[in-house]
Symmetry: C2
Subunit: 332 residues, 2 copies
């Protein structure tokens, strides 16, 4: 059916092994032989069978990516960074999304293991069940968590100072005179939610203010949550003067709700997002937010993963990127 090493061996008169080595650029094969073999392979339209190669060589040149939420462009950006680096290093990607389900996450890991990926990059659900953690701990292949962390596996993470970023946002709002700030938090099962809430608490504490739990509402992180939760808070007459969101998608829903309720942004209410999605600058009004280096996160995660694949003894160490506030039209 298709061209095999055997066929090239026959055509050139060399052994299968020599052909295999020549095609892989083995230095033991003379350059003239290598050239002849490569050209013959080219002409015959040889395509290596990576399944067979993986089988024998014990590495698949594939890494498994576990994304979290396909509805949020945040993750597309991270994955784009991963892909870019992967492609440079001639790795390929097996991609799937958990939609924030631990069960699915565990299944994916097992699937990746069966498929013999060389490493895993995951945006894991924050779930402290032993089964989940043990699964990661039992992994014999390298794994990296870009943008998220997992209890006890902190050094596998590449983070971006969530706590710091959220603290700055809240401090800014407080210094602008706001005392009733509605905070739309992310889902509990995401580490960033916890970290950003810690940043919020810190900001209040730094200003000797109490956190009012009524002004912290939980969301799954999608646009509609921002919309409905803002409507709800408004209906309850909570009288907030600023809204800080766990992410930009939520903010988009918030802006919609505020507009429909005839509240002017930023005059009546200031709004802050988090993530700095590309689209946020085109929201109406354009969104003030916290920039997270999404692409870089993915890129570095892949880069780091490859280092660990190449040197299994390499120690893991947390990286932490700085965040940066981006002021646009939703703040004064």
């Amino acid at each position: 059916m298709s061209i095999l090493l055997k066929d090239i061996a026959q055509a050139t008169g060399f052994s299968i092994n020599t052909v295999s080595r020549a095609l892989r650029g083995d230095a033991k094969i003379s350059s003239s032989t290598t050239k002849l073999i490569c050209e013959t392979a080219q002409h015959m339209g040889y395509m290596p069978n990576s399944i067979a190669s993986s089988m024998r060589s014990n590495h698949s040149k594939m890494v498994g990516i576990i994304s979290a939420d396909s509805a949020n462009p945040f993750f597309s950006e991270v994955v784009r960074g991963i892909e870019e680096m992967a492609s440079k290093a001639d790795y390929h990607i097996l991609l799937a999304s958990t939609e924030e389900s631990v069960k699915k996450e565990c299944e994916l890991i097992k699937m990746f293991l069966c498929r013999k990926v060389d490493g895993i990059i995951a945006m894991p659900v924050f779930d402290s069940s032993p089964a989940h953690l043990d699964l990661y701990r039992s992994l014999k292949i390298p794994f990296i968590f870009p943008g998220r962390r997992l209890e006890g596996l902190g050094n596998h993470s590449i983070l971006h100072n969530d706590r710091d970023g959220q603290r700055k946002v809240i401090e800014h709002l407080i210094s602008n005179g706001h005392r009733k700030i509605l905070y739309i938090a992310g889902p509990k099962k995401v580490s960033n939610t916890t970290d950003r809430l810690a940043g919020l608490a810190e900001a209040y504490a730094n200003n000797a203010l109490e956190v009012d739990p009524d002004y912290i509402v939980e969301a799954s992180g999608h646009i509609e949550d921002g919309y409905y939760l803002t409507n709800q808070a408004l209906n309850r007459g909570m009288g907030f003067t600023a809204v800080a969101c766990f992410n930009d998608m939520l903010s988009m829903g918030v802006l919609k709700s505020l507009y429909e309720n005839n509240l002017k942004v930023p005059q009546d209410i200031e709004v802050f997002g988090y993530d700095n999605l590309y689209m946020s600058q085109f929201m109406q009004p354009s969104l003030s937010t916290v920039d997270v280096p999404k692409y870089r996160l993915g890129y570095v995660a892949m880069e780091t993963l490859i280092q660990h694949i190449q040197d299994p003894n390499l120690e893991y160490s947390t990286k932490d990127f700085p965040t940066r506030l981006v002021f646009r039209e939703t703040t004064r």
Copy 2:
């Protein structure tokens, strides 16, 4: 290192082959034996090596997905449909994006072939170069094009009446009295651009109107194009009273530009998108658009692909889903 069929064979006293067949539910193995083997496998924590399985059985249970543009949530939705169906049928996905580059598309196909995928689902670039088409024609595995088409391979497509949808949009605008409609087209290298432009032409023809090429501008399909092209048209004093876009992302940029130029939507200018992204209902103002069954497109594409994998003699036939206009706040 890890548990193999061999180990289960040793533990149960059956042959490797019997273990393999029992685990796959072969009817030739008695139910008591099957039960014993499966339970033992479970206890020992057996994980099948899909690489080895693929190698021998000649099917990988993987399909390659070629997406087009990672920045557009349209494709995430399609991929979600693909994944859902794939997961039901126990297929897994190798996903990559061309970012609309034919070169990358061809490379991806070859990569998928090397990795022995059982089929391919692609959103191909519309490029009539022989190399590109021949590559698809030479494929010995099934392939489906959801939402796009390729010259001469029309029956591999699952479409959604692009021409019809765009015609309705333009006819609606014309019937609303608009005579100067700015149309922001997609990139030439996407079949939908051509088809939607045909729909536009049809609408004009049906109303005995001439198409003014000056009012048709080309874009790559991203938010910023909508923004800059609208600014540009405004600066040129083109005096249009409606804007129809190739997709919703463009519309988001258009809305931003119009707002910044103090033009009220829909009072001064009506705007129509295309795709009906989830987020479009939250744009400010919410976007009138054409609904495309994105998820369904992906789902059916995968479903169809599996049918073709299971029956290689099955004839290909184009499917065509109906579109539906969605009226929101950007139209009167």
